[in-house]
Each structure stands twice: as C-alpha cells, then as structure tokens.
C-alpha cells in the first residue's frame, strides 16, 4: 500500500479512528496497531508476512536470551547467534541471486559451465533491509545494556511492524520507540500542524517533483545515455539528485506525519542534505537514521577514530562500502559506497593537513564547498542510479562530455522542478516557521479547507499511475 493512494487514505482513517477509540484499552490498541501494520505490509505481498513474524519472534527470543544471560561469554554467544540469524536472512533474500549470477559469470569467464542456480522466484521482501537493521540495533542495544530486553512480545511486534516506518524507514531505534509504547498517547496534544505540513509537503515532493522528474528525464536518459546530448545528461544527473531526495525524504516526511497523528514521534531523517559543505556534513543530513546506525553499529565497533589516523580512514571506507552494499546487491552500490568512504577519508585527511575548522570557513569558501559537495554527491548518484549496469554508469559519465546538441528533454517543467528541488534546501527556516504559525492561527474549517485544496491541487497535477518509492527495494 503506497502512501499517495486512496487505499492508504481509507486505511489511515480506520487506523486513526481505531487507535484513538481504543485509547483506554492498552492491549487491544496494541493488537489493533499490530494487525493494521501486518495488513499494511501484506498489502504489498502476503507471502512475506510469515517472514516479518519470524524475524520478530526470533529477535524477541534473542533479546530475552541476551538479557537473561549473566555470563559475558553467554551474552556474546547469544549476540553472535542473533547477528548471524539477522544477517543470514538479509543475505539469503537480498544477495543470493547476486552471488549466483556473479559466480556463474566468473565461471563463464574461465570457460567453465555455470553451476549456480538462482532462486526461481522474485524474492526481495519490501523493506527487508530496514526491518533487519532495526532488529540488529535492538539486540545490540540490549547486549550493550542500553535498553532492557522487551518483556512484552506485543510491544516488540508493534515496534517491528509499526506501519509508517516499516518499509522505508526511518530506522527507528528501540530506545526511541519502545518507551513510547509504555505511555498512553495524549489525545489532547496531537501535533496537527507539523503532521499536516509534513504529509502535504511529502505528497508534493513525491507525487509531483519526484515522479515527474523520473518520467520526464531521469528514466529516459539513464536507460540509454548515448541517445542524449550532453546538456540532457547533465540535467538528468541533477534531476536524479533532486528525485531521490524528494522521493525518499517524502516517504519519511509522510511517515513522521502519520505517526504524529497517531501520537508517536519518529526522529528526523533528512536535514537539507544538499546544503552540506562537506561530505561528512552531507552524511549528518542525509538518511540520518542510516548514517547514525552505521556509525553506532559498524564504525565505532570497528574502532572509529580511536586507533590512529590510518585506521580511521580504513574504518570510514569499510563502513561506507558496507553501507553501499546495504542498498543493493550490485557492484554499482559498492562503488557508490566506496566513493563516499574514500571521499570521507580524503576529506578528513585534508581537514587535518590544512587545519580547517568548520566554523571558521569564510562565506565564499563555504559556498564553494557546498557546490563541490553537491557535485561529488551527484557523481556518486550516477553509479547509484545505474543499478545493475556499470556500462550505463560509464555511458552517463561519457555523456557528460558528449556533443552539445539540441536537448528536447530540457523543458520548462523539468528545469523548474530541478530548481525547486535544490532551492528548497536553502529556504530560510523562518519561512517554514511562518507557514507553521499561519496554519496554527487558522480556524478549524479553514485548516480543513486549505489542506483539502492542496490535496486537490496535488491530485490535479499528478501524473498517470503511482510509482513506488525508490527506497522500497532496499
């Protein structure tokens, strides 16, 4: 079930009503939220509901086991089994066919017969990377004694399956969410303004900006880069940068908004990422729940910056490389991750050599750094978007320096959407505050009418069909 659909609107009306009507009955309310979340997930593909249930039950058991074990060795072994199980599930569903195809290609290269057989069905459950990472954070946090193991299976089921964040994040930590389940949401303190603005802006970013850019230029150029002129290829790269931001941040905006209407809070996941003036700054602003996950559960356990400079650079590279692989079973994702890892390492080295301090940058240097960082990120997106085809990535790079011919794909619509997508990163925060204050001041009827009118506007501008969110496949 996709957010920008009538199906989801009807589903949400039922869940909203059920959630607040059952407020006085904690257990029935949690059961209701769990059933609703399973229905939401099953709407994509019923076949994977048992997987979600199995991962939840297994991690409930692992959590209890780690919490129960007193002996350090027992705790370590329990954690090892939990990590092995979760990574095994992820590897089987996400990387099995990639490994068989790669293995066969290697064999073919040596003139040997292909011996690996890929699985004969489409096996990637939607959002698997998100709920497995969430499960890993839970068992590791229990192991580190940062949170107690959940005694309530029902609480863990709500946490694991809670529909707003289930399929595309943000990766909500147990430490952030489980305590919210121990208190009853206050029916008199709903953050309506914030939720409405997040949902409406999310719908606009996804349905209008991301979808139009995808169909009008990005998909066309990335499918066959050699057929397009250099200006079109350049614009397609910028357009993809805007598309992926609008697509992914839209999902988390709507997820956060929907959760707020149900009385729950999620952490923010994006903070104007293309305003970043360094690669490190970019990762503090982009997919924050993933970058902090990678920092806390990969980079720091690897040693972080505590084991000397060289080891720090290596840790950064390894973390980002694995972060790339998390996005998908493809060498292009590995290259994308490696690029960012290398970029972070080189940047840290240069900052050390030239003793650059973030706060002391002159304004013009800051502007230059923003432009440079944006282009570095765009360069990485070429590999990211090319997905399974390294050749496409190379063709795109070649296309950037191709003939400067007429460019029929560069239309006023595409230009304005790209400009809007970049410009929104630089809006002064007071504009946003003013929008919130204005909405707050409106009487009830006007609030409803304005929100309804914006929905009509989005509906009128919607292209044919609804595309799934890009991050569903991760």
């Amino acid at each position: 079930m996709l957010f920008p659909t009538v199906e989801f609107a009807l589903f949400f009306i039922v869940v909203f009503a059920g959630n607040w009507l059952l407020l006085a009955y904690e257990t029935p309310r949690k059961i209701f939220l769990t059933v609703a979340s399973y229905f939401f997930y099953g709407f994509f593909n019923w076949a994977f509901l048992p997987l979600l249930l199995a991962v939840t039950l297994a991690n409930y058991g692992f959590g209890r086991l780690i919490g129960w074990a007193n002996h350090p060795q027992g705790r370590s072994w329990s954690l090892f089994i939990a990590v092995f199980f979760n990574l095994g599930v992820l590897a089987f569903f996400k990387y099995f066919n990639f490994l068989t195809v790669t293995g066969n290609q290697v064999l073919m290269g040596f003139g040997l017969p292909q011996v690996f057989t890929p699985l004969p069905f489409d096996i990637l459950p939607i959002g698997i990377s998100f709920f497995i990472f969430q499960a890993l954070s839970y068992v590791v946090d229990v192991y580190r004694r940062q949170i107690p193991a959940s005694k309530s299976l029902l609480d863990l089921m709500v946490y694991k399956a809670f529909f707003p964040q289930l399929v595309a994040g943000p990766i909500v930590r147990a430490a952030d969410f489980l305590p919210q389940l121990h208190t009853t949401p206050d029916p008199k303190r709903i953050e309506l303004t914030k939720a409405t603005i997040l949902i409406l802006s999310g719908l606009f970013k996804k349905v209008i900006i991301a979808n139009y850019l995808a169909t009008a230029i990005v998909d066309k150029v990335f499918q066959n880069p050699t057929a397009y002129s250099a200006p079109e290829v350049w614009l397609a790269v910028y357009a993809y940068a805007v598309q992926i931001f609008c697509d992914f941040s839209a999902y988390t905006d709507i997820a956060i908004g929907v959760a707020l209407l149900l009385g729950y809070r999620f952490p923010i996941n994006f903070n104007n990422p293309y305003r970043a003036d360094s690669i490190q700054d970019f990762w503090r602003r982009w997919h924050i729940s993933l970058s902090t996950w990678l920092r806390d559960y990969l980079y720091i356990p690897l040693g972080g910056n505590r084991k000397g400079k060289v080891r720090t650079y290596l840790n950064l590279s390894v973390t980002m490389l694995l972060g790339g692989l998390w996005h998908g079973a493809s060498w292009n994702f590995v290259i994308w991750g490696a690029l960012h890892g290398l970029g972070l390492a080189v940047e840290r080295f240069l900052y050390g050599v030239f003793k650059i301090k973030d706060t002391l940058k002159p304004k013009w240097v800051k502007v230059l750094m923003i432009v440079f960082t944006f282009h570095f990120v765009c360069f990485g997106w070429i590999f990211f978007r090319a997905g399974n085809s390294f050749e496409t990535a190379l063709q795109m790079l070649g296309g950037l320096f191709g003939p400067w011919n007429a460019a029929p794909l560069i239309t006023p619509l595409v230009l304005s959407l790209v400009a809007l997508g970049i410009w929104m990163h630089f809006w002064p925060s007071r504009w946003s505050d003013r929008v919130h204050e204005t909405f707050d001041r409106m009487p009830l009827a006007l609030k409803g009418a304005v929100a309804g009118f914006i929905l009509v506007l989005i509906s009128a501008m919607t292209p044919e069909g609804v595309m799934p969110f890009i991050y569903f496949k991760f």
């Binding site: 009538v6 709903i190 499918q223 066959n224 905006d253 239309t411 619509l413």
Partner: protein
C-alpha cells in the same frame, strides 16, 4: 520540511474535524478521480456495470476481460455524476489542464534553436519517392533468401527493443547468414506522444533510406498513457482514447505494411506485480493491439506471455532456459535480461521460419 518548530497541540476531535474536512474537500472537488479509482477496485465485482449505473448509458472504459463493477464504484458513481452536473469538478479540471499545458510546453532548446521547418516537406517528398518506386517494382514472387540476397529484417521499438534485446538480436542474426538485421530504436518512445519521437514520421524516413522485407514492432510499453488531441487530453481507458489510439496505430501499420512483405507486432511481456497498475494496463493494451493487428493482412501479433511468464503466464523473474534456471527480467520488473531476450529472439526466429523458411538456418 522536517523542522523542530514548536506548534500548538490539538485534541483528537479537532484533528478528526480537520481531516474529515480536508478529505471531504477532495472528495467534492475531485469526485471523478475518486470514482475512477473505484472502477479498479475488485471488491464485490458484478458483471454488469449498467446495473449500478443505469443512467450512464455507455461504458467508459476499455474492455479488458476482467471487468465489471464493484461496491466502491456503485457507491461513488452517483456522487461523481452529481458533482459533475453541479460543475464542482471544474476547478480540478482547469488546474489539471493548466498544469498539463505547462508540462507539455516545448523544450527550452526551441528558445535557442530554430525548428526544422523543412522536415515536413522532406517527409512528404520521401513518401512520394517511395510510392513511385513501389509502382515501378514488379510484384515479389517466392524468393529464396541467401547470404547474397538476404532477408532484410528491421526491428523497431522503445526500450524493449534496446538493452539486451538489441544485443541478442544482432548476435542471433550473426548465425543467420540469410538475414540482414537492422534496428530503429528509441527509448521511452510511444505512439501516444509523437512530440518526443514521431514514429509514423520516423518510419517513413527509415523506409526512404532503405528497403526492408520484414519489420518486428516492439512498441506498446509506453503507450498506456493519456493522448493529446486537438480537443485536449484523452485518458487511457476511455472510449475516446481507444478511438484515437486505434486510429493512430492503424495508420502506422498501414504505412509499414505498404513497404514490407510482412510485419510482426511483438506483445508486451507480463509485467511485475509490484507495479499492479502498469501490469494491468499492459495486459489491456496487449488485448487492444491483438485486436488491431487482426484486421491487417500480412501482420501477425506475437504473444509472449507463454515464453516470458510462469505457468500461469504471469510475471516471473527467473525461468528455465535450456534446462537451467536463468534470470530473465531486470530488477525494474519491466525490461528483459539477457536470457529473457534470448527467449524472445527464439520466438521471433520461429515466426520467420514459418513465413520465410529459406532465410532461417535451422
């Protein structure tokens, strides 16, 4: 738009009021869109649309085999009709038209480059030349094709004819000495939107440059979209769309068939269930194309769901090929992987073997 701004807190009743008003506004001003959504909902389907919409008189959708009306449609249809008769949908409609006009505005490059004013004249000349050449030609009899006199095969299409399909097309034909392969392919092209790539014009241009014996058409995957007509846009699924699309396709096919001995329209393969709307549209489109092709001589519609689908002719990522399970579809769930292209090419060669046995090496 994520922000930490402090805002007021509201009660559930207040929030419910705002939500109901917002959705109510949408339901009133876009009742038609809501009704259109309800058409596709499969709950409580009956076979007779008129039973629930007695005043409608005519069906408003393309027949697609699995149609009928459901509870949601029956509930929303009177609402949509009332809204329409009161003119409440006017605002939505005018906003839609204004945005479509903006979206369809000519490329920025036309601000800097002069349009090719001679293009139409050149095409008209090319058509006259071809007609003249045809008149002078003696009728083709039973021809034996060979390396010296190969069967000239042109494959045309959108991205379904590109990527691995194009690669496998040429590699397969390398083993067929009596066949000379040619390709005319444009990603994202469609008969529904000639502004981007005008197939009727381009095909005439291709025939003006070279003669071909056979054409394989791999178009359709981008066709199930709204068509711009002089009177405005017509939406996929409406009778107006069907009329316009059929008319364009017939003309396009007439143009091709006047230049070649035989043409084949290769069906769009079954699409991924993760894009259910697109999958259903492609299924409908194949039925429409099958019908259109049936009315032309020397044209065959080639179904592919039996070779590129599972045992129920539905989408499958992998399929057995020569006794081994292979990945046949790309991760987008739309395009063909290498082995999918191999299966498709075998089907195309099989058809050639029936109609031009001397050209195909067994």
């Amino acid at each position: 738009m994520e922000t930490d701004v402090k805002t007021k807190k509201y009660s559930v009743l207040y929030v419910t009021g705002v939500l109901l008003l917002a959705l109510g506004t949408l339901a009133v001003l876009d009742a038609k869109g809501f009704n259109k959504w309800a058409e596709d909902i499969k709950i409580g389907k009956t076979d007779n649309k008129e039973a629930a919409a007695p005043n409608q008189g005519q069906s408003t959708e393309v027949p697609s085999g699995d149609r009928g009306i459901g509870v949601f449609y029956a509930l929303t249809n009177p609402w949509a009709q009332a809204s329409e008769s009161l003119g409440l949908g006017g605002l939505h409609k005018s906003m839609k038209t204004a945005f479509r006009d903006f979206a369809g505005a000519p490329p920025v490059s036309t601000w800097f480059f002069l349009p090719d004013l001679n293009a139409l004249g050149k095409i008209a000349q090319a058509e006259r030349d071809i007609a003249l050449e045809k008149q002078l030609k003696t009728p083709a009899g039973e021809v034996i094709y060979s390396k010296e006199k190969p069967l000239r095969v042109l494959m045309i299409g959108d991205s379904m004819a590109g990527l691995y399909t194009a690669q496998v097309f040429f590699s397969t034909m390398k083993n067929q000495p009596a066949i000379e392969p040619h390709l005319l392919q444009k990603v994202s092209s469609t008969l529904s939107e000639p502004k981007y790539f005008d197939w009727p014009v381009e095909i005439v241009r291709a025939f003006a440059e070279k003669t071909y014996d056979v054409v394989f058409i791999l178009l359709g995957s981008n066709d199930a979209q709204s068509i711009r007509t002089p009177k405005g846009y017509v939406n996929f699924g409406t009778p107006e769309w069907l009329t316009e699309y059929s008319d364009r396709t017939h003309k396009f096919l007439n143009s091709i068939l006047s230049h070649v001995k035989r043409a084949y329209w290769v069906a769009v393969p079954p699409m991924t269930p993760t894009l259910p709307g697109y999958r259903d549209r492609m299924k409908s489109l194949n039925q429409i194309l099958d019908g259109i092709c049936a009315s032309h001589e020397n044209l065959r519609f080639i179904p592919v769901a039996d070779i590129l689908g599972d045992k129920n002719q539905n989408y499958s990522t992998t399929l057995p090929v020569d006794g081994k399970v292979q990945v046949v579809r790309m991760t987008d769930g739309i395009h063909l992987e290498y082995w999918g292209a191999v299966l498709l090419m075998r089907r195309m060669i099989d058809n050639l073997a029936v109609d031009f046995p001397s050209a195909v090496k067994k």
